[in-house]
């Protein structure tokens, strides 16, 4: 095995939390509000169904091939050639999605704080830091997550608490004004975020307690769901109908805080949440990409390819969209199908093929057994 480190199921759950919420809490409120309006807080609940589903599917696949990642077992399921092709597609997918995440990070920093700094500098400094943590291996990422995630959640909680006084419950009424349909349409954004739980396919083989993987995976989805619902609810109760018009509603909310006239201008806290969270998110996607590449190419160690792939990531991040408008348009429209297809449909198909084949084998097995019985 290429990865020598071992993590616990609990650590896996902790890594996955910022892997979803880091970009989720900033972009999801606005995306869901655009479709679901006053019912935007319901949308993540529909979206989370995909999260629970993919954790279940990945875990079932893991049970079939306990020591392999999705790159490796796809070869066993659909044959060596098709499997390799699928592996390549997955690697390109992870290169692309990670490029998008890095770009989102860069756009936010440039758009809100460092207006004059070239984007490339911000992108490459982040990728460099992530490269070090990826070189450290899965254990290092897990431990970093254990340190950062409580801080991120605490800061997030602080922002939500400080806003309590400015919230107006009337803004969420009437509930389901136009029926359930808008909330389901609004769920498209959260669903593509939740589908990123496919990443656990790269961690399950390295668990020290794999039997708890399913339980902690689902708990992790639940924690993300709670955070997204509360974030959506808070921005809705604060901004009401203008939530959809804001690019980063949580950022505006952070700026809105004013406790006793002197405790204000808290956007730096949002910035801290964002940087610590995206650092972990980029790291784990980066890790999956590097590990997958070395498994597909059958390299004995993944460390030498970390920096070259980092360079690729920077380029993809730069090239992925000409501007923020197209990036956001892509995230709100076609990306949903793209992400869901890659991260939900294909793994589910893999599992179905695997189970069908096994059933056929068993049938054939019993038949041949019966024949052999006859003979004797």
């Amino acid at each position: 095995m290429i990865e020598k480190g071992r993590i616990s199921s609990f650590q896996m759950a902790i890594i996955m939390n910022p892997a979803i919420i880091a970009t989720g809490i900033l972009l999801v409120p606005s995306l869901t509000a655009a479709k679901a309006e006053r019912d935007m807080w319901i949308s993540p609940i529909w979206g989370s169904i995909f999260g629970f589903l993919i954790v279940f599917v990945t875990f079932q696949l893991h049970k079939q091939f306990p020591k392999e990642t999705i790159i490796e077992y796809s070869e066993h399921i659909i044959g060596p050639i098709l499997g390799k092709v699928l592996g390549f597609i997955y690697l390109f997918f992870y290169l692309h999605i990670n490029g998008i995440i890095i770009r989102e990070y860069g756009e936010f920093v440039v758009g809100n704080f460092l207006f004059n700094t070239p984007l490339i500098v911000i992108l490459s400094s982040m990728v460099l830091v992530c490269a070090f943590s990826v070189r450290g291996g899965l254990e290092v990422i897990a431990r970093t997550a254990q340190i950062f995630v409580p801080i991120v959640i605490l800061l997030w909680l602080l922002i939500m608490l400080f806003l309590l006084g400015d919230l107006d419950l009337n803004k969420m009424l009437p509930v389901l004004e136009k029926g359930v349909m808008p909330t389901i349409l609004g769920a498209a954004g959260p669903a593509s975020w939740f589908s990123e739980y496919l990443l656990i396919a790269f961690m399950l083989p390295y668990l020290s307690d794999p039997e708890k993987g399913l339980k902690w995976g689902h708990l992790s989805v639940l924690s993300v769901l709670i955070i997204l619902v509360i974030t959506n609810l808070t921005t809705l109760l604060l901004f009401g109908d203008i939530t959809a018009d804001l690019l980063y509603p949580v950022m505006n909310a952070g700026r809105y805080i004013s406790i006793a006239e002197f405790f204000q201008h808290l956007e730096s806290i949002i910035m801290a949440i964002w940087i610590a969270g995206t650092f972990l998110k980029i790291s784990i996607f980066y890790y999956a990409l590097v590990l997958g590449t070395s498994q597909l190419l059958k390299i004995s160690d993944y460390k030498p390819i970390v920096f070259p792939i980092g360079l690729l990531l920077i380029l993809v991040a730069k090239w992925t969209a000409p501007n923020l408008i197209e990036l956001k348009h892509f995230l709100g429209t076609s990306s949903v199908f793209y992400f869901l297809f890659m991260q939900i449909v294909i793994p589910t198909l893999l599992l179905i093929i695997r189970l069908l084949r096994k059933k056929l084998q068993v049938k054939r097995g019993t038949k041949s057994e019966a024949i052999s019985h006859d003979k004797t």
Partner: protein, 396 residues
């Protein structure tokens, strides 16, 4: 022995250390505390900003202030859009303009009449600006408001901010304004502010007073009229935003008569919409708790009968105030700043969908009912009126 690769890596890292593109020192920025927008001509607007003079502000803090010297100055520029005016303004100021601390925005009356939404967009798009800054419409030029030098605070911006906090008039932040403009009923109202220059005794000659003088009413984003302070207070009762109020009533009973003033402790208002046989009704339920703060009559405030009479009178008085405000908004100006539409939308979402496009016609037809309850809790610190001889005190 140091590895060459390690040296190379360290050198590469140095590249990241020099990247101070966005370094902005405190002495390179001009801190803006208030923004004023005025109509200039058909195509252009005038942007004025109040900028802190750091030296004199720190001197004021040290000396305890009040020397009459300004701690801020006002600079203005004209441009096609707000952003355009801003860059013209930048050429007049030697430091980078910084909007992060702007706490109040004043819109000139004339600009308000021509429409405001295109200019407000700037405040939602520019990352520095804050949604919590308070917004006013000025009577006269907005520039005059932010140029005024008030008695109590050091700057006009601080006064504007404090006035909003005090909530004797409307308290509308930029966020509220966007929400009002966004709403389906197009209900927008902003507090009116006015500068008063008097040469009365007891006032400093070079100082001026800012007062809230009612409210401006908007249809969509254009100002269509104003209300005076008394009428605005009625609106505040309905919007459940009233924080301080003194009710003075006349009571008469046999030989005793006179005025009694009550001070509001707390109050809450509930709007109860109902649709009966296609008739849209709105019930305004006001519950308020009051203390007596002045008894200018010769009644004994210990008598529960008298207190009951006062209660009835006060209820009538508040109802009249609210009625007056409703009639202006509903029958005269026909703008739904009372959030009636929102209340109906919450309770009757289906019916609302049908009428939301015709709300303008529908709103004046709503029947309004009033249900005011005043609770007189305490008679203040005196019982009988201390200034009235015992034999003239009436017990009701």
């Amino acid at each position: 022995m140091i590895k060459p690769s390690l040296v190379l890596l360290t050198l590469c890292n140095l590249c990241f250390l020099v990247g101070c593109w966005d370094r902005s020192e405190i002495n390179d920025i001009a801190i803006i505390t208030a923004t004023a927008l005025d109509y200039s001509n058909e195509n252009e607007i005038e942007l004025s900003v109040e900028i802190v003079i750091p030296e004199s502000m720190s001197a004021m803090v040290k000396e305890g202030g009040g020397s009459g010297a300004r701690s801020t100055f006002v600079e203005s520029a004209i441009g096609e859009t707000l952003a355009d005016a801003r860059s013209n303004l930048q050429t007049k100021v030697a430091r980078t303009l910084f909007w992060g601390h702007s706490e109040s925005t004043v819109i000139g009356e004339k600009l308000a009449e021509h429409g405001i939404k295109e200019h407000l967009d700037f405040f939602s798009r520019m990352p520095e600006t804050r949604f919590r800054n308070v917004v006013y419409v000025s009577q006269g030029k907005a520039k005059e408001i932010i140029s005024s030098l008030p008695h109590l605070e050091d700057t006009a911006s601080e006064t504007l901010h404090e006035l909003a906090q005090f909530e004797s008039g409307l308290h509308i932040t930029m966020k509220d304004l966007f929400q009002m403009l966004k709403s389906q009923t197009g209900e927008t109202t902003l507090p009116l502010i006015k500068v008063v220059q008097t040469k009365e005794e007891g006032k400093m000659k070079d100082k001026t007073q800012l007062i809230i003088n009612g409210a401006a009413l908007f249809k969509e984003d254009k100002m269509i009229g104003t209300m005076d302070q008394v009428e605005t207070r009625g609106i505040l009762w309905i919007r459940n935003e009233i924080k301080t109020a003194t009710v003075t009533i006349n009571i008469e009973d046999g030989e005793g008569k006179g005025k009694v003033s009550l001070e509001m402790i707390r109050s809450s208002t509930e709007l109860q919409p109902s649709i009966e046989n296609g008739r849209w009704k709105m019930k305004i339920i006001i519950t308020t708790e009051d203390d007596i703060i002045q008894n200018a009559s010769n009644f004994d405030m210990r008598s529960p009968d008298i207190i009951h009479k006062i209660k009835m009178k006060a209820e009538k008085d508040i109802e009249d105030r609210v009625k007056q405000a409703v009639s202006i908004v509903k029958d005269d100006k026909k703008v739904d700043i009372l959030t009636f539409g929102e209340s109906f939308r919450r309770k009757y979402p289906k019916e609302w969908q049908k009428v939301k496009d015709k709300w303008e016609e529908r709103f004046p037809e709503i029947e309004v009912e009033y249900d005011v309850t005043v609770k007189v809790l305490r008679p203040g610190e005196a019982t009988e009126p201390p200034a009235v001889p015992d034999d003239k005190v009436k017990e009701g």
